[in-house]
Amino acid sequence: MQGAFMANRKSASGRKPRNLEQVAGNGLLHRRLFLTRGAAALGAGSLGLLTAARAQELPPWMRIPGAPMTGHGRRARYEEHIQRLTTSAPGTDGSGGSRTPLEALEGMITPSGLHFERHHSGVPDIDPDAHRLLIHGLVDQALFFDMDALSRYPMVSRIQFIECSGNSRLTGLAPEPVSGTCGELHGLVSCSEWTGVPLSILLDEAGLDPSAHWILAEGADAAAMTRSVPLAKAMDDALLAIYQNGERLRPENGYPVRLFLPGYEGNMSVKWLRRIKVTAAPMMTREETSKYTDLLPDGRSLMFTFPMDVKSVITSPSPGLELAGPGLYQISGMAWSGLGRVARVEVSADGGTSWAEAALTEPVLDKAVTRFRMAWRWNGAPAVIMSRAVDETGAVQPARDAIIAAKGVNFAYHYNGIQAWRVGADGQVVNIHV
């Protein structure tokens, strides 16, 4: 099979393709392409588009001075159509979520304005000067912290993802594949640089009682949403995040301070944090009992399934991004794991018959989105492309069939199956189950 698709196939531009090494079936090419000469090799096809005549025309923006400086920048007007897709419960406009348009983005960082949202009673308009955080319960001394105080504590910064544990179930657990873009199907995951105060410092200051084993975190939204969090996590790597991607948190991401629990299901990273109660046992809140528990085929449910498992998805090509014709393409996608670093990502272009290792874009960070890329020469025939991530613990992203065989279709949370896209002969990309 190796090399079968290399034989003198003409590309869309009519020139013979370079002799690139195929590493898996149906045109997947060696990742060396990206590590060395990738940009030049992939970009070569577009150079012929500029005619000599057009190259001599000055574009209008070179004939007059541009716009003045601004106090706060905004996107190019040609990009304003890139929006989150919002859905809300009937009769409400702030109880629901919005999804990141993953197919429109690159790299590892999600722009703050496109970070996914999940709210239970809208976005509160919190005056930071009137906001206080209370730590109480099984502590030596209950303490209030205002934002001025929190801002004086030592801070750390980390690039890490948040994923709603309900992400991807819309298609993964549906009997038939759901039509939608990558963001519509998988956009409840985003990755940011979070800066804030390690929660352990404040818990130490309050003084933990030996009987303490959990904390309850409460938001200052109109739902006063609460989740119980193991004290071990709170003392390990929990942050009180104040900054996101260098600026103060966006209101929809918890302004002025949120809990951030790396790798755990997003609902636990309580936004608009106003209270932490140190407890001996979990409080069995509505969110951790009636929601965010995973219903199994035998009628029992898993409770406290906190970490988000290893996962990946190809963001390009993906539904809505059609291929212009046969030729060289870059397969680009994102991989992440709540258990640690992404170790490798494998890509298939023949529906899973053969796989090749994709290039991971540095930096590859603990519990962060990792960008992977793969060169692909599409021969113009229908193809099924998919990605499979493996994390540093050895956990492998499972096939959809394997998950359903083990957990049924009603568990609703923590679905991390392999996503397949079918590329049609017309270049259209659609969601399929394999």
Binding site: A89, P90, G91, T92, S95, H120, S121, L134, H136, D140, Q141, A142, L143, F144, F145, D146, A149, R152, P154, V156, P198, S200, I201, L202, D204, E205, G207, L208, E218, A222, A223, A224, M225, T226, P230, M235, D236, D237, K277, T279, M283, M284, T285, R286, T289, S290, T293, L295, L296, P297, D298, G299, R300, S301, L302, M303, F304, T305, F306, N410
Partner: protein
């Protein structure tokens, strides 16, 4: 001065991911203020306030405060279905309600008090919340219509799905 001891101990004993010094800017909280902020109800009933209510009383509160979003007798029109679904958890389309799924009756009180009604949270009296809790338990066939819910009775209610949860942590 009182708080300095645990901090010193922790500096030597704690081996968390962060070894940072604290500027100690927390302001001691007045116990009465803490009590006003602390609205949590534990599964053992800890935190339940004084007061009481029955399903009969709750039906009247429900009609005014809940019916628009949750439908007649909690049938879920428009939003979350609150009643029924018993025995459906192994079905292809399980119906997860308070009666069929929720493991603790105390969670009903806690959730209504902190989050509901959606447009006017924190406006119901404790008696009204007890009454609503009783009404929802009654509609689900878990308690009798005239059975009053209070700080003693509510945590004693055994929810049908209570023993069907498997702890993945610790």
């Amino acid at each position: 001065m009182i708080r300095s001891l645990p901090i010193i101990l922790c500096a030597g004993l704690c081996s968390g991911a962060f070894a940072q010094e604290s500027p100690n800017l927390g302001v001691p909280a007045d116990p009465e203020e803490v009590a006003a902020w602390d609205i949590d109800i534990g599964p053992d009933g800890a935190g339940l306030p004084a007061g009481a209510g029955t399903a009969l009383e709750g039906e009247a509160v429900y009609a005014i405060q809940c019916l628009t979003c949750h439908g007649p007798e909690g049938n879920g029109q428009l939003n979350d279905v609150l009643v029924g679904g018993h025995g459906s958890l192994t079905n292809p389309a399980p119906v997860k309600t308070i009666g069929s799924f929720w493991p603790y009756a105390t969670t009903i009180f806690d959730y209504i008090r902190r989050s509901m009604p959606y447009l006017t949270p924190r406006t119901l009296s404790d008696d009204e919340i007890y009454a609503l809790t009783a009404y929802l338990l009654y509609l689900n066939g878990i308690i009798a219509e005239d059975e009053a819910m209070d700080a003693e009775a509510l945590p004693a209610v055994v929810m049908p799905n209570r023993d069907n949860f498997i702890l993945a942590y610790p």
